[in-house]
């Protein structure tokens, strides 16, 4: 019985202690339920969002770039469907075998195969490995024949930039390629839209107008698992192609310019003298922008880089040349404007001029005799211009040169690599060189040599402003109907129309007329320097001025030898220049032509103008016929 008593007491203890525990259990369960409530009911939204963030991932696809069209709407930078070859390593049974098969089918080089293998190690097995960025049609159809035996190989159609006119627009448009770190850091919009495989503008308008051209990415929303593998597509959000850009250039004129410049280094620019529209802007030699799309091969790059004619330099905007005699219209105009002389003023040319013991030669050794303004322009007499420059002084000359745009950027808003060049005056020399101005330098400046450095586009603008009667114009490369977002470009486009044909650059318009007439004589009268290149048909008739810019000082001995052009080393030959406007009766277009080391302006540059004006004038009627900007469907 004793045992039983103990037993009862023991079970009392057990039961009592059990109920204490039981109460504790209920409290703890209550705590767990409270926690569940707080997570699932109170913070449900927060955790739902986190869960979606976990499982939904967006994939941006490269956006489609906007097209760039010429004045007539021809696509000059478009998009092309291309075929790429992707391999998804996960789906491949034997990768090395597959690669060796592809190597045979596509004739891949060993280094290429090595690169692909290396890239594979950096990717997750379900990420596609790009074997070829641009399959030719032959390769594509070949692959398709073998596709049944190549598991994991996926031919993919995608869109790539395409420049249908190859090299003729390169210096205007630039090109696109894969962005490097600097490109991405410098542009927030590229940062935002960046995806592997995107191409961005590297140069020219492609770069300047990047933000408008780039477009909006397509977005794929996928459900992914914890390892980032796509499980299924939830949504496909269509992006938008970049804005279409219309430029003022005429492909026909551009093509002719390229043809004329073939094999030579130099530049041709053509401009509408009233609107400032650039009709052609070609820097020679050029290079094919399509080569850069998928990364240029080392060989091709070296070929371009080491070409002595320097295709990478946009000579129209960044080539600095002494204007030579093409500056003479401005010197003469400045003299007239400043009342230094009038049309009756005459200078006797004896082939050279002495000043403070220094001899200044005219290009014609025997001298031109007594020269009036008209004759001096026509025959490009240096002595005459030495004399009026001496009387005028460089500081007054600079005022006129400045007005006409020399030494200032012309299209700097669009082309960051444009150079301003310079037009010197006395203050400039003290500031830049630290020495006082010497009168002899004024004489040299008067014939466009010396410190003066101009770009072909500046000479073209100068000619256009003489041709339009002496009114300021702001050259433009984009038509007014472009809808662009960049503030810099919008301002530039606004400026175009603000200035054009409103601000006179002369004191007396008569003086402009005199210069125009002198340029007419230079081309269309006997003994004019470009007489041989004239067109008699008034429809095409133009007025111009030749220029021959010395690359180095001519020594006395060379002067005596009077070498023929082919006897001089290429780098030492003179640059040939020509500026012109036409048709003379009712001018509309101005041009400038520069042939580097081409010899004399009259033989190398002026004949090109003949062909150009024929085309430009013929094209004018088509240009005029185009519907109003607003109706032109961009």
């Amino acid at each position: 019985m004793i045992k039983d008593n103990f037993g009862i007491r023991k079970s009392d203890i057990i039961n009592r202690r059990m109920f204490i525990i039981g109460a504790a259990k209920l409290i703890i369960f209550g705590g767990i339920i409270a926690r569940l409530f707080s997570l699932q009911i109170n913070d449900n939204k927060k955790y739902l969002t986190l869960s979606d963030k976990n499982r939904i991932r967006e994939w941006k696809l490269p956006p489609t770039r906007g097209n760039i069209v010429d004045y007539f709407g021809n696509i000059i930078a478009g998009n092309l469907k291309i075929y790429q070859l992707h391999v998804i390593p996960e789906q491949v049974e034997n990768f090395n075998y597959l690669i060796s098969r592809l190597k045979v089918i596509l004739q891949l080089s060993n280094t290429r195969v090595e690169r692909i293998k290396k890239k594979k190690t950096q990717l997750k097995p379900w990420e596609s490995l790009i074997i070829s960025e641009n399959l030719s049609w032959d390769e594509f159809s070949k692959i398709n024949n073998y596709l049944y035996e190549l598991a994991g190989v996926k031919p993919v159609m995608t869109i790539s930039r395409d420049y249908p006119f190859n090299d003729i627009y390169t210096h205007v448009l630039g090109y696109v390629s894969q962005p490097n770190e600097d490109d991405i850091l410098a542009n927030e919009i590229i940062q935002e839209k960046f995806v592997p495989g995107i191409k961005v503008g590297k140069l020219g308008l492609e770069k300047t107008l990047e933000n408008d051209l780039i477009g909006i990415n397509d977005i794929q929303r996928y459900e992914v698992n914890a390892y980032g593998k796509r499980i299924n597509q939830l949504e496909y959000q269509k992006g938008k192609q970049g804005s279409k850009i219309r430029i003022t250039l005429d492909t026909e004129v551009q093509k002719l310019s390229a043809e004329l410049m073939k094999g030579m280094a130099g530049s041709i620019s053509v401009m509408d003298i009233y609107t400032g529209e650039i009709i052609a802007m070609y820097s020679s030699p050029s290079y094919n922008p399509n080569s850069f799309l998928f990364g240029i091969s080392e060989d091709e790059w070296q070929l371009i880089r080491n070409n002595p004619l320097k295709p990478l330099i946009n000579k129209t905007l960044s080539g600095l040349y002494s204007p030579g005699s093409t500056l003479k219209p401005i010197v003469a105009l400045s003299a007239l404007e400043n009342g230094i002389m009038d049309t009756n003023f005459k200078v006797q040319c004896k082939g050279k001029m002495e000043l403070h013991g220094q001899t200044f030669h005219c290009w014609k050794e025997k001298g031109h005799g007594w020269m009036s303004l008209n004759n001096a322009m026509k025959q490009s007499c240096d002595t005459y211009f030495y004399e009026i420059a001496r009387k005028l002084g460089v500081d007054k000359l600079k005022v006129t040169a400045d007005k006409f745009g020399l030494g200032k950027k012309v299209l700097g808003e669009y082309f960051e690599n444009e150079k301003a060049g310079q037009f010197p005056d006395t203050r400039w020399k003290i500031n830049e060189i630290g020495k006082g101005w010497v009168l002899g330098e004024t004489l040299i400046t008067g014939i466009g040599q010396g410190y003066t450095q101009t770009t072909p586009i500046q000479l073209c603008l100068m000619t256009a402003q003489i041709a339009n009667g002496g009114y300021k114009i702001k050259p433009k490369i984009l038509t007014d109907d472009n809808q662009l977002t960049s503030e810099q470009v919008k301002k530039a486009m606004k400026d175009n129309n603000l200035y054009n044909s409103h601000i006179p650059l002369f004191n007396d318009q008569k003086n402009i007329k005199i210069i125009q007439e002198a340029m007419f004589s230079s081309t269309n009268e006997l003994r004019g320097t470009s007489y041989k290149s004239r067109i008699d048909d008034p429809k095409y008739q133009f007025a111009g001025k030749t220029g021959t810019a010395q690359v180095k000082r001519i020594s006395k001995r060379e002067r005596e030898l009077d070498l023929k052009i082919f006897q001089i080393p290429y780098e030492e030959r003179d640059h040939a220049l020509y500026i012109a406007f036409g048709p003379y009766k009712n001018p509309r277009y101005a041009l400038s032509i520069i042939v580097e080391h081409g010899g004399s302006g009259s033989s190398a540059a002026a004949p090109m103008a003949t062909k150009l004006f024929k085309l430009i004038v013929d094209r004018h009627q088509y240009r005029k016929k185009l519907p109003d900007y607003k109706e032109f469907n961009i």
């Binding site: 039961n15 202690r17 059990m18 259990k25 767990i32 699932q40 955790y47 976990n54």
Partner: protein, 374 residues
């Protein structure tokens, strides 16, 4: 006056069947069925390995449970020390020949099952101590010898399990053991002083922890410390549960688990998946089911005549409660991550085997509730 010591009771088979606790059995069946559905979901909605294996284990162990329940509770009383000794031997065997998985040596390969003796010890310790406190007289409970003996019984398996190393299981074994001491009548002040001593020695314990164990505690205190590393499990688990909301994402719709964001979703984090798919309502339902099971076990303890049966039932009810609490607190981010399965729900043979054996003995206590044990 005279007590029978026969092992077979005077009940025949049908009487025994009649005396089973059907509410408890039904609850266990519902829980088992539920666990199969959840396992099916962890397999991504397909009848794959985990689901099949879980089903087979459930069937076998459920049958084993019924078998155990037909043995007289006296048998279990008689063999308690023996079973404890066997499990200790298994633990020693494992520490020498066991299979090593990710740094800890816990398993023995039985070909049809990777047996984890430490899981069996959760039941073994209750059996052993229940027998001990059944036998020791109330006066002697608080004697030095008695407490020393009880603590030794607890400490031997603890040392073996900690050295595997498996801190989580050893804590669960210790708490199962200590609760029997509590129920047996060890003075409250001893518990109180031990607790104070524990708090004081905590810094020393922590400094002796394995680096990964320290990391777990640090991660528990601030899961965002290393969101892709150590904190990943807690963060993802909370996201899964929280995103389940009131009614859950629906069966087979749990994106967190389906897309592999959940770690160990078959085993320790099975509740996370359940809660993501069935929401607050489902979780409360599951808790209620567990609560019913616990209450039924306690009830059996209350109606049992022998102290051994009482101690076992209460101790087992408590350890079930502790497993649930530790597991849920862990996945809810209330406790650091210690490997601890959710009874029946989690995939894993040893844990289920131990739980089913426990249920079996509890049912045996029910069937033989009138049975007194000398």
């Amino acid at each position: 006056m005279f007590q029978h010591t026969r092992l077979n009771s005077d009940q025949n088979f049908f009487q025994k069947v009649k005396n089973l606790d059907y509410i408890l059995l039904l609850s266990i069946l519902i829980l088992s069925t539920l666990s199969l559905f959840v396992m099916y979901s962890t397999d991504g909605g397909e009848l794959l390995y985990h689901t099949k294996s879980h089903f087979i284990k459930l069937s076998v162990f459920f049958a084993l449970m019924l078998l155990i329940s037909f043995f007289n509770i006296k048998f279990w009383h008689l063999s308690s020390y023996f079973l404890y000794g066997i499990i200790i031997l298994l633990l020693i065997w494992v520490s020498i020949y066991g299979i090593k998985v990710s740094g800890s040596q816990r398993w023995m390969n039985l070909y049809f099952l990777a047996l984890q003796p430490s899981e069996l010890m959760k039941i073994g310790i209750i059996l052993c101590l229940a027998k001990y406190y059944h036998r020791v007289s109330v006066e002697k409970v608080n004697s030095f010898n008695s407490i020393f003996f009880a603590l030794t019984i607890i400490l031997i398996p603890i040392i073996l399990v900690v050295s595997q190393p498996d801190l989580g299981t050893s804590i669960l074994i210790a708490s199962s053991g200590l609760i029997i001491l509590w129920l047996g009548g060890v003075k409250i002040k001893y518990f109180f002083f031990s607790f104070i001593t524990f708090l004081i020695s905590l810094p020393f314990i922590i400094s002796n922890l394995q680096p990964y164990q320290k990391l777990r505690i640090l991660t528990f205190l601030d899961p965002d410390r290393d969101p892709l590393g150590a904190g990943y499990q807690i963060i993802q688990s909370k996201i899964a549960i929280g995103s389940g909301g009131f009614s859950g994402k629906g069966f087979l719709q749990g994106t967190q688990s389906y897309l592999d964001f959940l770690p160990e979703k078959h085993t320790d984090f099975i509740f996370t998946l359940f809660s993501e798919e069935f929401g607050f309502i489902g979780s409360i339902g599951l808790l209620l089911l567990y609560l019913i099971i616990i209450i039924r076990i306690i009830r059996i303890g209350v109606i049992s005549r022998s102290s051994f049966a009482k101690l076992f039932c209460f101790g087992f009810a408590f350890s079930i409660f502790i497993y649930i609490t530790v597991n849920l607190s862990m996945v809810l981010g209330l406790l650091p991550i210690v490997g601890s399965p959710l009874p029946i729900m989690s995939y894993g043979g040893s844990s289920m085997l131990a739980t089913m054996i426990g249920f079996g003995i509890v049912l045996s206590a029910k069937v033989h509730s009138k049975q007194a044990i000398a």
